[in-house]
């Protein structure tokens, strides 16, 4: 478990509206939050706005109003700096892997830190060994199984040495062993982590859980309280959250 939180993810009164065929649609509605815990999990229904909340911190979406800060950097004004600080792992690994083979993709991430080509290849291979994928180094990424691809995407992000790690549903395609392995890996990283997930076992490993519903954060707190609450909402409807 990471001991210290080297930074924080903060937003205040953020509203984001997009055009949709049925008129403007509010994806985030006056959302405020401050995540300081080593690991924060964001849970909520499909389409509630989890991924959009995560994207905020990487300047992949820009809010109409409100303030966002990543380790005191404003991602709207300084997207490059914010992105250098934040590593972002997408749900769909196929859309994140930019090169035809795993080793080339990891080398691409190393480019900024490791100028020497030979060393880059060496370091990329080390990452693959660490993930148990060295035998797949030169395969086409489209011949890998879904889970293998997700591990490659994660390695490529970690190789860039970010200060904060944001993961959008990182365990969706993984088997039980790789899920445990991924959690173990995350536990041993020093970076602060923000994870969106439908996997409540993963959510319960976090120190802090935020529940997103219909474009708002409707509840936050320790997992021991939030997860049973969320299960109850899923089974019996979210009707009563307004009264909280």
């Amino acid at each position: 478990m990471p001991e210290a939180s080297p930074g924080s993810l903060y937003c205040a009164n953020v509203t984001l509206t997009v055009d949709s065929p049925t008129g403007p649609f509010t994806v985030l509605d006056r959302v405020s939050c401050e995540f300081r815990e080593p690991r924060t999990a964001v849970i909520g229904l499909n389409g509630s706005g989890k991924s959009t909340l995560l994207r905020l911190f990487n300047a992949l979406v820009v809010p109409q109003s409100g303030v966002v800060r990543v380790n005191s950097i404003d991602p709207v004004a300084f997207p490059r700096e914010a992105r250098a600080a934040v590593g972002f792992v997408f749900t769909d690994p196929a859309s994140q892997i930019l090169m035809p083979t795993p080793i080339e993709d990891i080398e691409l991430s190393l480019r900024r830190h490791v100028p020497d080509r030979q060393e880059r290849t060496e370091r990329a291979r080390e990452w693959l060994v660490r993930m148990g994928l060295e035998h797949r180094a030169h395969h086409s990424v489209f011949d890998l199984s879904g889970g293998e691809r997700q591990l490659v995407a994660l390695s490529a992000v970690l190789a860039a040495e970010p200060q904060v790690l944001i993961l959008d549903e990182p365990t969706t395609l993984l088997d039980l062993r790789n899920q445990l392995k991924l959690i173990d890996l995350l536990d041993n990283l020093g970076q602060q982590q923000l994870i969106s997930t439908h996997d409540l076992d993963l959510a319960s490993t976090a120190q802090h859980v935020a529940v997103v519903h219909e474009s708002r954060i409707i509840a936050q707190g320790p997992p021991a309280e939030m997860i049973p609450q969320y299960k109850n909402w899923c089974a019996n409807g979210f009707a009563d959250w307004q009264s909280l």
Binding site: R80, L98, L108
Partner: protein, 206 residues
């Protein structure tokens, strides 16, 4: 935020309505419109072309599409019209320039009328019917219709894919210039085609 063009509006420009043109059987509508197109191209007289152009504007208004849509359908031609008109004005005189420019505008806005008053599935059925002669040579015309639907469906996917790759590259602080993205975009496209082919096979549409 920048106003974005709706990705799938790009092609599916059908505007629902109950006008005469909307209810007209496709075959009759197509014969009328394509017939007028060919007449315009054969006659190549600026007065006739202008009349047809005005007629399409009128038809737009009457069938509830509005003059605004009519004008919007011609706007992309602006640059071409200026160049083409300018060239012929200098070398071949005003009559020739007017006839060439106006016939182009007339023909484009005619075909636009057909597209915006007929739902896409009906148009595809029409195309399949038109291809009937090919079936004498052993071509399965249903598959032509399927190919057109798949093509139309793939356009928004391609736009979405470019967006996703741009996000992925920027998130990894790799400068997302188009040159660096075309290769992954093409590879993703081929993968998408494979998945589509697999889905076709799995659904027994072989």
């Amino acid at each position: 935020m920048r106003r974005k063009v709706r990705r799938d509006d790009l092609l599916g420009t059908y505007v629902p309505g109950r006008s005469l043109l909307h209810r007209c059987p496709l075959a009759l509508k197509a014969v009328l419109i394509l017939g007028l197109c060919i007449t315009v191209m054969l006659i190549r007289d600026w007065q006739f072309s202008l009349a047809v152009l005005a007629l399409t504007g009128l038809a737009s208004v009457v069938s509830g599409l509005g003059l605004h849509r009519w004008a919007a359908s011609l706007r992309p031609l602006l640059f071409l019209v200026i160049l083409l008109g300018g060239y012929h004005l200098i070398f071949n005189g005003p009559a020739r320039a007017a006839s060439i420019v106006l016939s182009l505008l007339a023909v484009v806005s005619l075909s636009r009328l057909l597209i915006s008053t007929t739902p896409l599935p009906r148009l595809i059925d029409g195309l399949v019917w038109l291809c009937t002669p090919l079936s004498w040579f052993g071509v399965n015309t249903e598959r032509i219709g399927l190919a057109v639907s798949l093509m139309i469906r793939s356009v928004p996917w391609l736009f979405g894919c470019l967006g996703e790759l741009r996000d992925a590259a920027t998130a990894r602080t790799i400068r997302a210039n188009p040159v660096r993205l075309v290769t992954p975009a093409t590879i993703a496209t081929v993968n998408y085609a494979h998945q589509t082919g697999e889905a076709l096979a799995a659904r027994g549409l072989d």
